[in-house]
C-alpha cells in the first residue's frame, strides 16, 4: 500500500500521479494500481513513468471508471500497487529513437533517463505535456501537435526505435520498421502494447497478443515486443 504524494492534472483528462516509497522496476515495466475496494473489480495497469528518491510516478489518461477514481486522489490518500510486472524495453547501446504518442509518452521518460543521448519524438493530438522533462535528457527533442509524429522520424538513422502510443501508431511503426529493413537498415523496432488486463502476471490470458510464433501475453511476455513479432489483426 502506498501513499499519494501528488496527483496533478497536466492536460485534458491527463494526470501525473506520484506515490511515495521505494519502488523498483525497469524501463517499460508496469504496475497494477488499485485505489478502491471491491469495485471496480479489476486493478489498472500503468507503466512506470519514472522512479526517484521521492517515489514512483505514473501518467494516466482518464478513460473509464478506474482512471476517473485515480483522478480524484489527493495527497495522503492510500493506493495499492503491485509490481513491477512485465518485460520492458531492452538496455541497448547505439543510436536510439524514443517515440511516444499521447499518453504513450509515459514509459519513455524512464528510457530517456536510462539511455541519455537518445532522440525523442513526442506527438500529441492537442495539448502537449511533460515535454520539458524529456528535453533535459534528450539529444534532440521533436514535439508534434495535431500531426503524425512518425512522419518526423527516419527509422534508418537508428539502431533501435522504441515506440509507445495508440494502436494505429504502433501498426504504422511496424510498417516503417519493415520498410527500413527492406531498404537495408538494421534497425530494431520495439513496441510497447497496451491491452486490457485482469491478473497482470500471466495467468488469465485476457491480454493475449497474436505473434508470429503464436499467442503471447502482453503482461508477462510484454508489454514490449519486437515489432516484427507482432501480428496486427485490425
Amino acid at each position: 500500500m502506498g501513499t499519494v504524494i501528488s496527483n496533478e492534472r497536466l492536460a485534458d483528462n491527463v494526470y501525473h500521479l506520484r506515490v511515495g516509497g521505494e519502488y523498483g522496476g525497469e524501463m517499460g515495466q508496469f504496475y497494477m494500481l488499485r485505489a478502491w475496494g471491491a469495485y471496480p473489480v479489476l486493478s489498472r495497469p500503468l507503466s512506470i513513468h519514472q522512479v526517484s528518491d521521492e517515489g514512483i510516478d505514473f501518467l494516466y489518461h482518464v478513460v473509464g471508471e478506474g482512471t476517473e477514481l485515480f483522478s480524484q486522489l489527493t495527497p495522503g490518500d492510500s493506493i495499492n500497487l503491485e509490481g513491477p510486472f512485465g518485460s520492458g524495453f531492452p538496455a541497448v547501446t547505439g543510436r536510439v529513437a524514443l517515440i511516444g504518442g499521447g499518453i504513450g509518452i509515459a514509459p519513455l521518460l524512464y528510457c530517456a533517463r536510462e539511455l541519455p543521448g537518445s532522440d525523442v519524438y513526442l506527438g500529441f493530438s492537442r495539448e502537449p505535456y511533460r515535454t520539458e522533462e524529456f528535453r533535459s535528457h534528450a539529444a534532440r527533442l521533436t514535439v508534434d501537435v495535431g500531426g503524425l509524429i512518425l512522419d518526423n522520424v527516419d527509422f534508418a538513422e537508428y539502431d533501435h526505435v522504441f515506440v509507445c502510443g495508440p494502436h494505429p501508431m504502433l501498426k504504422a511503426a511496424q510498417l516503417k520498421g519493415i520498410a527500413a529493413a527492406t531498404a537495408g537498415s538494421n534497425v530494431n523496432v520495439y513496441l510497447s502494447l497496451e491491452n486490457r488486463m485482469a491478473c497482470g502476471i500471466g495467468a488469465c490470458l485476457v491480454c493475449s497478443v497474436s505473434c508470429k510464433d503464436g499467442q503471447r501475453k502482453a503482461c508477462a511476455d510484454g508489454p514490449v515486443f519486437l515489432a516484427e513479432e507482432v501480428v496486427f489483426h485490425d
Binding site: 497494477m32 473489480v41 471508471e65 488486463m197 491478473c199 488469465c204 490470458l205 493475449s208 503464436g214
Partner: protein
C-alpha cells in the same frame, strides 16, 4: 465447538479439510480454472501449497489460440470474459506443466474442455494414461478431472453440451468410462435445469459437480454500435453473480448426494461460509484472484479468523446447514 483458549491454539485445532472421492483438500479454498494459470504465476507471491487445491487453465486436446478482439470488459461488480479457452493443448500440458504439478502439495485438478465429443474422450484418455505412467513411478501430478461442459466462450463443444441434460449425459458417460481419476463435472448456470443436470452427473458416475461456470452476458459499445466482443456474448463472473451461484448450489445440494464444488463471485471468507452453508464441500475462487494478488492466503487467514470468532471447529458443523 471451541469454547476456550487463545486464538493461536484454536487455530491449530481448526479442521478445514474436506474429502472428495478420496482426494484430501486441506482446506476448502481451490483456485478456479482460467484465473490461476497452472499455479506458477501466483506461486511467486505466496505459498500455493497452503491452498486446498488448484484447477488449471482449461485444456483441450489440440492447442487453442482463443478468441480475437476484446477479451475482458468490466461490469457492475463483475467482469465479462471472452478468452475462448486459449491453451497449449493436453499433450503440451502433460509434457511441460506436469513436472511442476508433481512438486505441489495441494489438490491438482485438470479442467478438461473440448470442441467435439471425441476431443473430450481422447483428452481424458491421455490424462489417464499419463496418470497411470506416473503412478508406476510414484510421481503423481493430477488428482482430479473437472469436465468443463459449460464454457460459454467457444463456438463448438463447450456450452453446447451444457444446456440440455440429454446432450450432456452421453458425454459424461463416455468421459467417466475413459478415466478412473476422480471426476467432477463443471455445470453451466445457463443449463435448462441445473439440478437435473447435476442429478444426471451423479447417475453417470461423476464423483462431484462444480458450479457455477460464468453466466452468458453481453456488452454493447454504443458508439461503435456493436458488441465489444467478437463472439457477441461473453462469460460474466465476479461478485455480481454470487447470489445466483449460491442459490444454484443450494438447489443442487438438495437433489444430489455427491459433493459440490461451489463457485461464483467468492471474494471474502464469509462468502466461502455461505457456500459451505448452502451445501458446498469445497469452493473455487476465480475473479477475486484479479482483485487481490494474494487472494488465497488472505481468504484462508480470514476464514480461520471467522471460524474462531464463531466457535466453528470444523466446516462439517455448518456444511449444508441452510
Amino acid at each position: 465447538m471451541i469454547k476456550n483458549g487463545d486464538s493461536s491454539s484454536l487455530n491449530t485445532q481448526l479442521d478445514l479439510s474436506a474429502n472428495i472421492a478420496g482426494i484430501t483438500f486441506k482446506n476448502p479454498i481451490v483456485m478456479a480454472s482460467g484465473t490461476f494459470g497452472f499455479g506458477k504465476e501466483y506461486a511467486k507471491y505466496y505459498d500455493i501449497n497452503e491452498l486446498g487445491g488448484i484447477s488449471g487453465k482449461g485444456l483441450t486436446l489440440q492447442p487453442k489460440a482463443g478468441n480475437q478482439g476484446t477479451r475482458v470488459y468490466e461490469t457492475a461488480s463483475g467482469m465479462l470474459n471472452s478468452v475462448g479457452l486459449e491453451n497449449p493443448g493436453i499433450p503440451a500440458f502433460l509434457e511441460k506443466e506436469c513436472a511442476y504439478w508433481e512438486t505441489l502439495d495441494t489438490a491438482r485438478i485438470v479442467n478438461l474442455g473440448g470442441n467435439t465429443f471425441e476431443d473430450y474422450v481422447t483428452g481424458a484418455e491421455l490424462i489417464q494414461q499419463d496418470a497411470d505412467r506416473r503412478s508406476d513411478s510414484g510421481r503423481k501430478a493430477v488428482d482430479m478431472i473437472e469436465l468443463n461442459i459449460s464454457c460459454p466462450n467457444v463456438k463448438e463443444g463447450g456450452i453446447a453440451f451444457g444446456i440440455r441434460t440429454c446432450d450432456a449425459r452421453e458425454l459424461v458417460r463416455a468421459v467417466r468410462r475413459a478415466t478412473s481419476l476422480p471426476l467432477s463435472v463443471k455445470l453451466s448456470p445457463n443449463a435448462e435445469d441445473v439440478a437435473d443436470m447435476a442429478l444426471m452427473c451423479q447417475e453417470e458416475g461423476a464423483d462431484a459437480v462444480s458450479l457455477i461456470n460464468t453466466i452468458s452476458g453481453m456488452k454493447i459499445d454504443v458508439r461503435r454500435r456493436r458488441s465489444v466482443f467478437n463472439n457477441l456474448y461473453a462469460g460474466l463472473s465476479g461478485p455480481a453473480i454470487k447470489p445466483i451461484a449460491l442459490r444454484m448450489v443450494h438447489q443442487v445440494a438438495k437433489r444430489v448426494e455427491i459433493p459440490i464444488i461451489g463457485m461464483g463471485g467468492i471474494s471474502s471468507a464469509t462468502d466461502i461460509i455461505e457456500f459451505i452453508m448452502a451445501g458446498a464441500t469445497v469452493v473455487q475462487v476465480g475473479t477475486y484472484n484479479f482483485m487481490n494478488l494474494r487472494a488465497g492466503e488472505d481468504l484462508l487467514r480470514d476464514l480461520r479468523q471467522f471460524m474462531i470468532e464463531e466457535n466453528i471447529y470444523s466446516l462439517d458443523e455448518i456444511r449444508g446447514i441452510v
